[in-house]
């Protein structure tokens, strides 16, 4: 992602009176299961239609609200890439940024408050990392396939 252009857009939202409503991350899976006739990601993995070893991509949406309006800035990053913090413009961003680092493993540079990984206590470390999601889907797929 173009960090300079991204931060310029964020600054523009801040200047125009928008409020940070959320930062959301989606773990993008490598295949669209429906295209292979499977109705669930598990079924797709079970029939080999959704290879779970594709590249790790995350989609990040920074959501801003102003009255009844809602807009997002979207970026896709590959696993291992960093995103810049927007704490400079939106003071509450640090909580979302700590969350996406702990739950998705996305490194955020320059966070206003670094909670050093102690925000959440989860049984699975980085539960929405590509590795963790793929492992869960593979396990579900294995349990769904009965030997003939």
């Amino acid at each position: 992602m173009d960090t300079t252009a991204f931060l310029a857009r964020v600054e523009e939202y801040h200047r125009d009176g928008w409020r940070l409503a959320l930062i959301n991350v989606t773990t993008v899976l490598p295949a669209a299961p429906a295209a292979h006739g499977a109705q669930t990601a598990v079924e797709a993995a079970a029939v080999g239609a959704a290879p779970l070893d594709g590249p790790g991509v995350f989609e990040i949406a920074w959501g801003f609200a102003r009255g009844g309006e809602f807009k997002t800035i979207r970026e896709q990053i590959e696993q291992g890439q960093s995103v810049p913090s927007i704490s400079e413009f939106f003071g509450a961003a640090f909580l979302y940024e700590n969350e996406i680092r702990e739950l998705f493993g996305i490194n955020v540079t320059g966070m206003g408050v670094d909670l050093k990984g102690q925000l959440y206590k989860t049984a699975t470390r980085v539960p929405f990392s590509h590795g963790a999601v793929k492992a869960r889907l593979a396990a579900l797929a294995a349990s769904a396939v009965k030997p003939s």
């Binding site: 989606t26 598990v42 609200a65 009844g68 997002t72 509450a92 909580l95 909670l115 539960p127």
Partner: protein, 361 residues
């Protein structure tokens, strides 16, 4: 000066749910607070991987026992937007009525907890006695006191007869009249004013800087409310956000007190305006599988909630995310705690009306 770290929570008399704040003190002053949550993290967002979208609504409404109805509504509204389902008008009005009843019960619950925290047991009991009446209305109309399961993708599962709606309104108006005396005590008792007045002041500028939501931000003089956006039939309701200007703990109490009255009035307007008669459609079932994404915003009792739902044409959603009002208010809470006296921490934390179950999902 020597610094001391005091862990606040996860178990504390004022906290109904587990939250940890590591309070760093110099003498009696809090100079920093580091939050830790996750003690009741249930991984509900992860469950979309194995729970089908038709069943996920029942999971979503279990995010929280206080905002149960509105979580269910937010989920269904999101799927309806993705699947282009036109919800019958009566069902939309019924959702609004239940949503406002939810707001009343949530505020009464919190006012009771608040009174208990600052040592006014009698008020606690009055608030919770009245809340029981609200739960009885929920039980009568949905079958459940806490988890209602009345929202469906495409409408609602149950209708409420016109005569029953009239009876509910009469009961609420009677409750509202009785509540005036309780509200008067909250608003005028000198011991409450002494305990909460001037404590935990969130200025208007600070409230904007930390993107606070709900009664928290309205108590700091900002007239914002997601309902003003007009969705979910609120465009046909005449109301103004309840605003206080002091920004302190007492102002946050006063906003919630006045919102109880406001919700009763909104319900009155809704019952007056909804289409009447028996056998009107209340559900329009969707066809096919959802594909697409949507952000949905609702005004829950604690403030704005944002849902993100992404569907990929399969039975399982690709992503479900709920950003709850308490999550949005944690930065404000940390800001307020910094610089306050240790003895004021419980009241400051409580007056944001924290719901940790919501926050952690």
């Amino acid at each position: 000066m020597k610094r001391t770290t005091i862990p606040f929570g996860p178990q504390h008399p004022v906290l109904p749910e587990p939250l940890v704040l590591d309070l760093i003190l110099e003498d009696e002053k809090v100079i920093d607070a580091i939050p830790t949550i996750g003690y009741i993290h249930r991984g509900l967002e992860m469950m979309v991987e194995r729970v089908e979208y038709t069943e996920m609504g029942f999971v979503v409404e279990r995010i929280c026992g206080i905002c149960s109805f509105m979580h269910g509504m937010g989920y269904c509204v999101s799927l309806e937007a993705i699947m282009n389902v036109e919800v019958p008008e009566r069902a939309r009005w019924l959702r609004l009525v239940w949503a406002e009843i939810s707001r009343i019960q949530s505020h009464l619950l919190w006012l009771g907890l608040g009174a208990d925290a600052f040592g006014f047991e009698n008020l606690f009991m009055h608030c919770w006695r009245m809340r029981e009446q609200i739960l009885d209305i929920f039980e009568k109309t949905t079958g459940g006191r806490i988890i209602h399961s009345v929202n469906r993708i495409g409408g609602v599962k149950r209708d409420i007869a016109d005569s029953e709606l009239a009876a509910i309104l009469a009961e609420l108006q009677e409750l509202g009249a009785a509540f005036k005396e309780t509200a008067r005590v909250f608003g005028t008792d000198p011991s409450i004013a002494h305990r909460l007045g001037g404590v935990g002041v969130l200025t208007k500028a600070d409230a904007l800087a930390v993107d606070a939501v709900g009664p928290m931000v309205r108590a700091s003089g900002i007239a914002t409310d997601t309902r003003l956006g007009g969705a979910f039939m609120y465009d046909q309701i005449d109301f103004e956000p309840v605003v206080e200007t002091a920004g302190d703990c007492l102002a946050r109490v006063l906003v919630r007190l006045r919102e109880v009255d406001q919700s009763i009035d909104i319900i009155r307007q809704a019952i007056d305006k909804m289409p009447k008669g028996e056998g009107l459609p209340i559900e329009n079932r969707p066809r096919g599988l959802p594909s697409g994404e949507v952000f949905t915003r609702l005004e829950q009792p604690r403030g704005e909630v944002v849902y993100y739902v992404k569907a990929n044409g399969t039975k399982n959603l690709e992503r479900f995310r709920a950003r709850t009002p308490t999550f949005a208010n944690i930065p404000a809470m940390i800001k307020l705690v910094k610089g306050c006296d240790l003895a004021d921490v419980p009241n400051i934390i409580l007056t944001i009306d924290p719901c940790i179950s919501c926050t952690e999902r």
